[in-house]
């Protein structure tokens, strides 16, 4: 009887390994863990004395059933990147089973943070990530963290933002939290509270710390929807990182609730020099991301500039020039646009108060043109590579996609009316490239993310919507 059972078990194992019986990875991992746990306990009981026995029991329990707390509370704070990597690889945390190599790199990178980035370890982790068989959300988070450790903040921002907006099917909750928390800190450290609020209010998944930070941000910016103290306190207490966040929380409590938004009085000085002073001040505090203040200051300079025409003509005459004041005024306005453009490029939200025909709007058009150029270049690259059937390695491909994504999202933040234009631009090249990645390269997760993203903006094109919905379904089957 026993021999027959043994033969059946061997047949089942052989069929699972050959792929003819499909078992979800998570079921296999649980099975393996149960087996390992029983085996370890049996070995411990057979060999160790009583006290050591209990300790070994606990260690075996944690390593096999709860490796994530062990990683977070012990291995990462102890600054052991390679140990963190191998702990994930060996212990197989159940929530990260789909992309175990990438998740191992994420914990390796996190353990490297308090230690201070070392080139050698970053390169080692990068090699491990490149060798990963699949790359979904955890892989993108890993690539983002490694870029951040290399101080390539733009690339890190693009990758982590891509990970944060991914469908829950592609990214575990813990990995999304790592990505979003980094983005929240990246915005909060320069006082971009509007971005913190948008990140925290994210529709896909709510995460405790980013949600609490968004509520704090609302109070700090005097948002009319800001919560009162009694609502804010439980939210703060429920979120992690309370000790570090407490001073900021106190700062938020000091801001009166639901006060009317106090806009500075429009710069009343009609004198040009004072208007320039106001502009300098607005640029200086642009990190407070006060778009209305910036728009009003630029408008005041622009308005007062025309009153300088006579003075400019006099000065040109005194200096022996025959040119008229118009050329100086045009150049001045161009300088003004050049001064504001990089700020809008960094934070499109600053342009929300731009009035039609204003200098700010001209700066918006410059940024818009540049972003359109970026998107077009990337689309051309996708078109060429689809035709030539050439692909980059998986990490580089996700980086390119994150870059296109972030350009498109910034463009839509700047001008939400451009949605259909952007969709028309990206639809064919991205969809065809995604099909090539799906069918030709079996990079299902990357293609799936592209289809989902396109589908979100395809609402006004029924044929495209149908095709994309079908492609998304095909992706779900493959993930």
């Amino acid at each position: 009887m026993g021999a027959v059972a043994g033969v059946v078990i061997v047949i089942v194992i052989v069929r699972i390994l050959s792929g003819s019986i499909k078992v979800p990875a998570i079921a296999l991992a649980i099975g393996a863990k149960v087996g390992l746990f029983v085996f370890t306990i049996a070995m411990v009981q057979a060999t160790a004395p009583e006290v050591a026995n209990a300790v070994l029991h606990a260690v075996a329990f944690f390593l096999i059933w709860a490796p994530t707390p062990l990683l977070r509370w012990i291995v990462v704070p102890l600054r052991m990147p390679r140990t963190a990597y191998w702990t994930v690889r060996i212990c197989f945390p159940l929530g990260l089973i789909k992309e175990i190599e990438a998740a191992a790199v994420v914990y390796g990178a996190l353990a490297l943070v308090p230690k201070g980035p070392s080139d050698q370890t970053i390169s080692w982790l990068e090699r491990k990530l490149r060798n990963a068989e699949t790359m979904q959300g955890s892989g993108v988070v890993a690539a983002g963290l490694l870029a951040a450790l290399r101080k390539d903040v733009d690339r890190a921002r693009g990758l982590l933002a891509t990970a944060d907006r991914m469908h829950p099917r592609l990214i575990p909750r813990t990995m999304r939290a790592i990505a979003r928390d980094w983005l929240v800190v990246d915005a909060a450290r320069v006082g971009n509270w509007h971005r913190v609020i948008r990140l925290g209010r994210h529709g896909v998944t709510r995460l405790r710390w980013s949600y609490s930070m968004a509520r704090i941000g609302e109070r700090l910016t005097g948002d009319p929807q800001a919560w009162r103290n009694w609502q804010l306190w439980p939210c703060f207490l429920w979120a992690p990182r309370r000790r570090v966040t407490y001073p900021l929380f106190r700062r938020a409590l000091a801001v009166p609730v639901r006060r009317p938004v106090q806009l500075d009085a429009a710069p009343s000085a009609t004198e040009f020099s004072l208007a320039l002073g106001g502009l300098a001040r607005a640029l200086e505090v642009a990190n407070a991301h006060d778009g209305e203040l910036l728009a009003r200051s630029v408008q005041a300079v622009d308005r007062d500039l025309d009153s300088m025409r006579e003075m400019i003509e006099q000065r040109l005459g005194m200096l022996g020039s025959r040119r008229d004041a118009g050329s100086v005024l045009t150049q001045f306005r161009q300088h003004l646009i050049d001064l504001v453009t990089p700020l809008i490029e960094d934070d499109p939200y600053l342009a929300r108060a731009a009035q039609p025909g204003s200098i700010m709007e001209q700066a918006v058009w410059q940024v818009r043109r540049r972003l359109m150029g970026d998107i077009d270049a990337q689309c051309r690259d996708y078109r060429d590579r689809t035709a030539g059937e050439s692909s980059l390695d998986l990490v580089a491909e996700w980086e390119r996609w994150a870059w296109l994504n972030s350009s498109a999202i910034r463009l839509l933040e700047l001008d939400s009316a451009a949605e259909s234009v952007v969709f028309q631009m990206v639809y064919a090249p991205v969809c065809n490239f995604a099909v090539y990645q799906h069918n030709g390269r079996k990079r299902i997760a990357l293609a799936h993310d592209m289809f989902i993203w396109l589908l979100r903006y395809a609402q006004s094109v029924p044929e495209a919507r149908q095709l994309l919905a079908k492609n998304v379904q095909a992706g779900i089957a493959g993930i």
């Binding site: 903040v153 006082g191 002073g277 006060d290 203040l293 001064l339």
Partner: protein, 117 residues
């Protein structure tokens, strides 16, 4: 995200770089430029930084030469006169002083000093 200095370009206004008034004569401008170049050549430490109404800035010989060239062109000079006429605004510019940057943000993740400045 803004990490660069948005006023850097403004601080490099030729009048600020040469430390001359906007009504200075062309001779005064040339003299100021040559004096600064000479001081830079002998390695005077004080000459590398200069005050502006928008805060201090640093200069080198190339910037001084560019400033001199810009002020020799009447149209460019008038343009720079306009920018140099700024009177710094005092007081609180933002609607809410509490909404500034969160200095300890990086500590929340344990990422202190890892963000590129």
């Amino acid at each position: 995200m803004t990490t660069g200095d948005p006023l850097a370009l403004w601080r490099s206004n030729p009048f600020f770089v040469l430390e001359v008034a906007t009504d200075a004569t062309p001779t005064d401008v040339e003299r100021a430029g040559q004096r600064l170049l000479a001081l830079l050549t002998v390695g005077s430490a004080n000459v590398q930084t200069y005050p502006t109404p928008l805060g201090p800035a640093t200069r080198d010989a190339e910037q001084i030469r560019q400033a001199l060239a810009a002020l020799r062109d009447p149209e460019q000079r008038v343009l720079h006169e306009l920018w140099a006429s700024v009177i710094p605004a005092g007081g609180q510019a933002s609607a809410n002083g509490n909404a500034g940057p969160w200095e300890e943000a990086e500590r929340a993740l344990g990422w202190s000093a890892l963000w590129a400045r």
